[in-house]
């Protein structure tokens, strides 16, 4: 039911179906994500938007008994193909979670975690990457003097931005964000939203959010999902102002959901 076709999409989803055991959570979604744009996935709780998001870096593989049918193409390659290297995939598709999850290590070590496990040992390169990532996540000025202190001593908003810095440190093409602001206060939320606006210059961002205003504020495209189906996909301005679908209209005007 997608109404829009994107030229040169970075991620293409073709007839994606997802099962938790016998239960089907996503019933055949077709969707294309434009490069270096922010796409928001909205919908009521349980509509499958987080599940869909987690299909893009195969995070759902960790769930016992889950199964995927259909195709997800990242730059033309099927990420569910047998030959896909999951480790490599996750380096190209970073993720930021609902609850900030810094590791119990120093700020420095948190940022370079992805590089360390990739075997990077060049100290100079690591230092540079820490600085550029923290700057990219608008955190550098706040933490540059305490890079080697434990990350668990930061505030909630700082932790979430650290998680973003950690994600961009490995230089991914896509960043998935799963309700990144739902545990933050309004001020921290504003900073993260501002940051998303900056990041879209370099990265393709897919963000799941419950907050309609947030979707309207930060995204270029919006997809509305309901009960495992894609109801409508379009440019954010268009979708919020003149939705084609009755359900979409009901949802964004707050009549249900």
């Amino acid at each position: 039911m997608s109404t829009l076709r994107i030229n040169n999409p970075l991620i293409e989803v073709e007839n994606l179906r997802f099962y938790y055991g016998a239960a089907r959570a996503i019933h055949g979604v077709d969707l294309q994500f434009p490069e270096k744009q922010v796409t928001a996935l909205i919908g009521p709780s349980g509509c499958g938007k987080s599940t869909l998001l987690r299909c893009f870096n195969r995070m759902n593989d960790l769930v016992d008994g889950s199964r995927v049918e259909g195709k997800v193409l990242l730059a033309g390659e099927d990420i569910y193909a047998r030959s896909t290297d999951i480790i490599e995939l996750r380096r190209r598709v970073g993720m930021v979670f609902q609850k900030s999850n810094p590791f119990p290590k120093s700020i420095y070590e948190n940022v370079i975690y992805g590089l360390r496990i990739g075997g990077e040992k060049n100290k100079q390169l690591l230092d540079e990457r820490v600085e550029s990532s923290l700057k990219g996540a608008a955190l550098w000025d706040e933490v540059k003097d305490r890079l080697h202190e434990n990350a668990l001593g930061m505030s909630g908003g700082q932790m979430q931005r650290l998680c973003i810095a950690r994600a961009i440190a490995v230089n991914p093409r896509v960043i998935l964000m799963d309700e990144p602001c739902s545990a933050l206060d309004p001020k921290s939320t504003a900073r993260v939203e501002e940051l998303i606006g900056e990041l879209r210059k370099d990265f393709t961002i897919i963000i799941v959010t419950h907050n309609m205003q947030q979707a309207a504020r930060v995204s270029d495209y919006t997809a509305f999902l309901f009960e495992g189906n894609l109801i409508e996909f379009g440019q954010t301005k268009q979708l919020f102002v003149t939705p084609h679908n009755k359900q979409t209209e009901d949802y964004i005007t707050g009549r249900f959901g």
């Binding site: 870096n57 995070m59 960790l62 016992d64 480790i87 490599e88 996750r90 380096r91 970073g94 993720m95 979670f97 609902q98 609850k99 999850n101 810094p102 590791f103 119990p104 290590k105 975690y113 992805g114 360390r116 496990i117 990739g118 434990n150 668990l152 001593g153 930061m154 505030s155 909630g156 998680c163 950690r166 994600a167 490995v170």
Partner: protein, 536 residues
């Protein structure tokens, strides 16, 4: 109408629950405190140089003794007191009950002496004469006695140096003998050059050894020339070689400062000295050493084994019936009586693996066992087996308590399962794992039953670690504080005399467990600070 409502509220708010839970806690703490107090009161007083009393009895006889306790006689009509009268070699008994009614006079003369002897326990009495061998018999003053004892001590030190040399020589001789035995076993001909050299070495050593023995016996008989004459309460004289006196002191002549010094000195002796008199006197060093090293080696086995097993159960194994059964089995393992572990250790480790090692590597020594008998290694392994369930359960809980986001965060950055495990999960679980290790160590320190059949002995000839290659002798038998308590408390020929030592040993064991767990708890808290969320 008002009352029931109030009662209702009383129950609803749960006031009784507060009281019940508080009382339960108080009861637990109280019983633990009572236990500790009993041990401390009985254990700490042992080395205090208490006053010696001289009693004149109604029948004209005289007794010198140290008051142990007083009590009413069975019919309640009179009181009697128990005195330690020492001089086991003269009286046959060290303790005596005396009815208060029979005591005519009581005093505490300053010249009364306590002699700690190498044999026969303490001697209570007075100094009569010093006979310092080479010199003319001198004046019988306490100062002269101390001077003579110092000289005797020098003799003793020389003798113990000799003894060390002798021990080293006999160790070398034993090694040579074992090598020769190997040649015999392999039927190496008598004219083989290697064998000839060994035999020559052995003969040389034998000769050296003979010289040393000779020197030792000459030195000893010379040292034995120094004697002193003492008189016990009843007037009987007893001549004692000065080298047989560990120390002499006059408790009635000591100031409080002297007594504190003496007490400290005895504590040091307790911690560093060798046991005497079938363990009822002297130090506990070998037992302390054995206990600590046993727990250490045990941890070395049980810690990695438990952690790795738990990691498999929690991270790699697919949840299912089998895993659930394994988990239940592990939990039940912790409930098996420890003596069963001991028997398993004896059968499997000692007779099974130990015997296997012997017949593979030391066939020439048969039937003398090397590893095929109880030893530190087998006892440690048995204890490790006993404590591994504790570590597994604690590690599993700790891993399970880590929020899912942590794993996902690591995977999302391209980490493998293994990288996630050792970079994120294990550090985060480490405080919980440490808790498991603390519990395991405490349990292991308190176990005696399984040790008794897997390698603990009353008196070990050598420590499991020493200067002889390969330094760690895990095949050796060892001493242990827990077994020590059992041994001197229940197996000693002179239970009354051994009683103080039982309390001291118990106190020491409790202290060691406390010390080791304190260190572990300190480490755990440090890890907790590092690896858990402090803010929010």
């Amino acid at each position: 109408m008002n009352k029931p409502k109030e009662m209702n509220k009383f129950w609803r708010v749960g006031e009784p629950m507060v009281w019940v839970s508080g009382a339960a806690l108080a009861l637990t703490l109280l019983s633990a405190a009572i236990l500790l107090i009993v041990i401390m009161v009985n254990g700490l007083g042992v080395f205090w140089p208490a006053e010696l009393r001289q009693l004149e009895l109604q029948d004209g006889s005289r007794v010198i003794g140290r008051l142990v306790r007083g009590e009413e006689t069975a019919d309640g009509s009179a009181r009697r007191r128990q005195y330690k009268i020492a001089n086991r070699d003269l009286y046959g008994l060290d303790f005596r009950w005396i009815d208060e009614a029979r005591i005519a006079a009581e005093s505490a003369p300053q010249q009364l002496l306590v002699l700690e002897r190498v044999e026969h326990g303490d001697f209570y009495g007075t100094l009569q004469r010093i006979d310092a061998g080479r010199q003319q018999p001198g004046p019988a003053t306490p100062a002269a006695l101390q001077q003579a004892l110092r000289l005797a001590d020098q003799d003793l030190r020389q003798l113990s140096e000799l003894e060390e040399k002798l021990n080293a020589a006999s160790y070398r001789m034993e090694q040579l003998r074992l090598k020769l035995q190997k040649f015999d076993y392999r039927k190496v001909p008598a004219d083989d050059p290697d064998r000839r050299r060994l035999e020559a070495d052995s003969a040389d050593l034998n000769e050296d050894f003979g010289v040393l023995i000779d020197l030792q016996s000459r030195r000893l008989s010379k040292a034995r020339l120094s004697k002193a004459l003492f008189v016990e309460a009843g007037g009987r004289e007893k001549e004692i070689d000065l080298v047989d006196i560990v120390q002499a002191y006059a408790p009635n002549d000591m100031s409080t400062g002297d007594k504190v010094l003496f007490y400290g000195h005895k504590l040091v002796e307790l911690l560093t000295g060798q046991p005497r008199e079938s363990n009822t006197e002297g130090g506990l060093f070998p037992a302390i050493f054995g206990t600590v090293i046993l727990i250490f080696v045990m941890s070395l086995f049980s810690f990695p084994l438990g952690v790795i097993a738990a990691v498999y159960l929690r991270e790699y194994a697919r949840e299912g019936l089998l895993v659930r059964i394994v988990r239940i089995a592990v939990n039940n393992l912790a409930g098996i009586p420890s003596i069963v572990y001991g028997i398993f250790g004896l059968g499997f480790f000692v007779y099974g693996i130990g015997h296997g090692i012997d017949s593979l590597f030391f066939p020439e020594r048969s039937p003398t066992p090397t590893f095929g008998t109880g030893g530190l290694l087998w006892a440690s392994l048995t204890l490790a087996l006993l404590t591994v369930p504790v570590v597994i359960v604690a590690t599993e809980e700790a891993l399970g308590a880590i929020p899912r986001e942590m794993r996902e965060g690591s995977y999302a950055l391209g980490a493998t399962k293994f990288q996630t495990l050792y970079r994120v999960l294990l550090p985060m679980a480490s405080p919980g794992i440490m808790t498991g290790l603390i519990l395991a160590m405490a349990r292991a320190a308190g176990e005696v039953a399984p040790l008794m059949i897997t390698g603990v002995v009353k008196l070990a000839p050598a420590l499991p670690i020493d200067g002889n290659f390969p330094f760690f002798h895990l095949d050796r038998k060892f001493m242990h504080l827990g077994f020590h308590i059992y041994d001197i408390g229940f197996q000693s020929p002179n239970v009354e005399a051994a009683k103080p030592m039982v309390f001291v040993t118990t106190l020491l064991l409790v202290l060691i467990v406390l010390l080791m767990s304190s260190v572990a708890i300190y480490l755990r808290n440090k890890m907790k600070k590092r690896y858990t969320f402090g803010t929010f």
